[in-house]
């Protein structure tokens, strides 16, 4: 909920009355930070560009670190929950369908309910396993 804290952090500045060039000050700060960051690099624009290109290329070759996978704990929790529920839904639907066509009234549902639960746990296990490897497959084997 970074957004909320931003809203509050921003509001006291509004009524201070010193209001001078919000945008410009911000921009200046950003540019300063950038300059500080790229300190110690050759000042020659061409070689700086060359270095930037090298960095971009190596990033492309290494396969990139990728954006922060799935945005935090809430996203991860939701994802795990959905994996579990989805398999359960599929299991129950398969069970009901089996019962409907084969006339095995409760047994298909019972069997597929348990299979669905097991598949849900398998899904969750795979999703959790993939967490450390930067968003690797929830269904991948390998």
């Amino acid at each position: 909920m970074a957004g909320i804290s931003f809203a509050f952090a921003g509001s006291p500045r509004l009524d201070r009355g010193v209001a001078r060039h919000y945008g410009a000050r911000r921009f200046g700060r950003g540019a300063g930070a950038y300059r500080a960051m790229s300190e110690g690099e050759p000042s020659d624009p061409l070689s700086r560009l060359g270095e930037k290109l090298d960095r971009a290329r190596s990033r492309a070759r290494a396969g990139g670190s990728g954006p922060a996978a799935e945005g935090g704990a809430l996203g991860f929790g939701l994802r795990i929950g959905i994996e579990l529920i989805a398999a359960l839904i599929v299991g129950v639907v398969l069970g009901l369908t089996t019962d409907y066509f084969l006339g095995t009234r409760p047994w298909g549902l019972i069997a597929f309910f348990f299979i669905g639960s097991a598949a849900g746990v398998v899904n969750v296990f795979r999703a959790a396993q993939g967490l450390g490897r930067g968003g690797r497959p929830p269904g991948g084997k390998g």
Partner: protein
Amino acid sequence: MSGVAGEGSNPLEQFVIEPIVKLHIGSVDVSYTNSALLMTIAIVLIAALLIGGTRRAALVPGRLQSAAEMAYEFVAGMVRENIGHDGMEFFPLVFSIFMFVLFGNMLGLIPFSFTFTSHIVVTFALALFVFALVTAVAFVKHGIRFFGFFFPSGAPVVMAPILIPIEIVSYLSRPVSLSIRLFANMMAGHTMMAVFAGFVIAVPLFGFFPVLINVALYGLEVIVAALQAYVFTILTCLYLRDAVHLH
């Protein structure tokens, strides 16, 4: 966010599908709805972005070209990273899915518009398409060996009667989880915003407070919109990789 909550208005009202042009083929209702309108707008905007961005391609890109190239590079990187270089044959498909979902999510954030990705029919149709395609690709590339996918290598054969149904259900649950994830995220966020908008009227004196929260929520929703488009696409890539490389 069409449901700018008036008195006693329903936060779910924003998800109502309204026919704009009523059409019937036989007994099938094929009306042109607000959902279809937003899809059309999304496609037109995507086409405009890409055509406009590449029409006058310059060495130093302009704003439009820059946006188009960023989108291309982003998806191309994702495909290369997750499927591999031979996966670039799927790039047009993955790119289309990404742009469609992204624009659907983003357009839904414009007040009084409609979020077509907040309907499970839409997301499930997309996910089912991906699922069918992945299965077809796996069959074409590997033929009968595809069924080996349902038996984890190294497991004792005695376990097969238990493991194979579990693996099949797990495989079948992919389109379900893919579609539920997108639909639930979009619907939950938009409902939450409408509920907080309703509080503005419900709380007479401190009405500004829900507005502040809504501003924050709106920012969060922009992130969620982009993130869910990314997640949908990357999962498509991962499924395609499973199909291409199988294990």
